[in-house]
Point group: D3
Chain length 137, copies 6
């Protein structure tokens, strides 16, 4: 059993708020992250998969394939986008890093298994000081 | 003559576009950075000042003072903001990293000189792969 | 179940030594880290907490609260301090990174649980080449 | 139980290929990594060991000893070497990062136990975007 | 006048040696970098260009264009290559980081000027501890 | 003319204070950096030298020689030391990063010239947010 991790990056705008709150309530709960005019981040995404090494190639998975999947199922949907307004797989969810990490897991779990590996962890940095990890349960 | 640099960080949303262009023209010139729904970055700002060391303190400037000035004149205006919509000192300017670096220079030149030093360089990272430097002329 | 991590930093002096050893014995066991005139580090502290996401906020914990707790219970006690001489929660302990990580766990376990989360890991970097992890048992 | 990690680095050349494949087959499976003229990397190796703290020293292990072991059993064998041609413990194996991480585990497991600790993880970065982790099973 | 920098990366094998030296002489002068079986690096290349901001776009140059030029004139020639054997613009030169930085300057000077900017600096990291800078004269 | 930079690191304790000030005055001017019980840092030192490439070697200087000089004239004097109490070349000076950078320049200028290069810059990081640069005048 080996674990391999691929890093990809995306830049996006978002806002933390609830539609059923007033601006004052949102400011109280979410602070400056609730700014109605949005703010944004350079997100750093680390996708870890696990499984057995293919004896023919010495690989768990070909990293080109893993990178392609992450780009097809995640990066193209979020890079240079507004997470609240434009990301289908975040519709109806608060645009927190926690929820984003879980949604990315759900996007990747099946395509990773089709590569012959198992998704192990989503690690998502919002800044150099804050990151979230999700293991699928 | 010594140079000293202070790093501060801010997160903001922006969009590259011209009001006198159609969305198609904006997309053609600015690519995905023209997304009408915004995107964003973790900006890393390095402010370099220069001058002579104060013999009484061994300091060029007290870094607490330099940090306070950068926060008062720059960070509070841009952090968790929309650069196009909310930043007074960027009004009427294209929200490129180049223009932002120059505007930050203009915000800081006078307060730095009041600290007894001279502003030398603004270095502004938009991502780990891209940064701009401005020396005031 | 989600994990979220907050990084905080502090600068401190310390010395590795035993009072019941001579300077020669301390030098033999602890090397240059036993210097009686102290040395110091920029410590980087990563605090990981885990738990369920609050459906109302999309947060596990508000990172402002987590940051405040880390500052109140750890950073204010160690930043710009001498770990051997001035840190109440390290009194009577060898000032190794291992012991410091465990003491930080003990400082944070209860306040983190009062936030509604569970402390999962203390990761403490002494330098870019050395770090310690503690999971509470 | 505490975990402590030491980082060491090495620079090496390698090539991903199978002798029983033609150059075309190798290119097809391994892409540009199969270049017959080799390419190379700055590998970053993180070795994590675990165990109980020695009450006399406050250490799990003396990091000087851990560093010496990593250098003796790994770095001297791979640094500024060709992994395919010159590394005894990689003979007969595909020079993938996965296989290299496992071989490094096998080199270090016994000497670490002789230090009084237990090897916990080999984490090997091939680049800032790709790394492998191996836990010994 | 503004400066803008784009980072690109490449992985390559190389060897420091002179054909007119014996292996012993090469070892004496170039140390382990003279290994006849090659070694390699993850090179980090920072290309800085300077000039005036285009008032229509707010750009000095479009970073997509700058990135494309660096890839066409440099990265495609060196990435996953052997610098001594396969890089046309290094033929007949010692494969030192110094010579490589100068050769990269010569590759980029003209295409950068065709973009409407002026090449200012090539900064080339061989490792986190070593880098070379070249300003064209 | 080429520039080449070598990074070395050291850990040290220091204190910012004047003997002719009371503790209150020192606290007022130097803040928590004046703690009489010391604090410390992981300093990162970047030494840049310049000159012409030696045609026989492709080197400006052999980086092993440059590293040896930095270690002999600087690192051995400051690593795991108390800068105020134990560093001969800082005697009688305020232990600020500015003064330390200048003193390091004075230690290195002559030995670098004996290597056949010219010292160009001392860049000294006290933390990831603060650094000083000195060009010798």
């Amino acid at each position: 059993m080996i674990h391999i991790t691929r890093r990809e990056r995306f830049n996006a705008a978002h806002r933390l708020f609830r539609e059923d709150y007033t601006d004052e309530q949102n400011l109280d709960v979410f602070g400056k992250c609730s700014n109605p005019n949005w703010h944004g981040h350079n997100y750093h995404l680390f996708v870890t998969v696990k499984g057995d090494i293919n004896k023919d190639t010495g690989f768990l998975v070909n990293l080109k394939d893993l990178s392609r999947i992450i780009n097809d199922y995640v990066i193209e949907h979020v890079d240079h986008k507004n997470i609240n307004l434009e990301v289908e797989f975040m519709k109806g969810k608060l645009a927190s890093t926690e929820n984003l990490a879980i949604a990315i897991w759900n996007q990747l779990e099946e395509p990773v298994s089709e590569l012959g590996a198992q998704l192990h962890k989503i690690k998502l940095f919002e800044s150099e000081n804050n990151f979230v990890e999700y293991y699928g349960e």
